[in-house]
Subunit: 96 residues, 2 copies
């Protein structure tokens, strides 16, 4: 076994981490834009049906190695973070 294999795999994990980070932040920016539009149109910002729809699409495309329940849990955490981000945004809008 190549002694550098472990180091190489770790570097790959670091690169994957940074790509996940980038996408989570990109997702945050998109969700903020959606929140702005909905607030402007007077629509309720949080939509549990839309959340279920997103999860269904994710689960449909999931092929492992993680369990479905793990993927669902991770994305629910991502959704929760986005919800907090919008709430913070709305609070800041009220304060100015």
């Amino acid at each position: 076994m190549d002694p550098n294999k472990l180091e190489q795999l770790r570097e790959e994990v670091d690169q994957v981490n940074l790509r996940i980070l980038d996408l989570i932040n990109k997702r945050g920016e998109l969700i903020k834009q959606i929140g702005d539009i909905k607030t402007h149109q007077g629509i309720n910002v949080f939509d549990p049906l839309r959340e279920r729809e997103m999860l269904d699409l994710i689960i449909k495309n999931h092929e492992g190695p993680f369990e479905y329940s793990t993927i669902e849990h991770l994305f629910k955490e991502v959704f929760k973070a986005a919800k907090e981000l919008i709430e913070e945004d709305q609070l800041n809008a009220l304060l100015v």
Copy 2:
């Protein structure tokens, strides 16, 4: 405002979700390979220092819109899922 803008943003979010899903699973495969090498070499599979090192690199590259604490929380959940995946793998190896 373009009435389709909301729909377009939702489609972008769906695409970002699927890219995150893909990377989480790719990360799982890499972590499994690392676990195999470490088990083979008799090294302890879980390394809290390495976890801190990964988080430091992530935080260093983070530019928002999320709080650092949110990003740290999300990645700790991702790390936890990977840890469970390896433990499951090792349990299966013991059972065969």
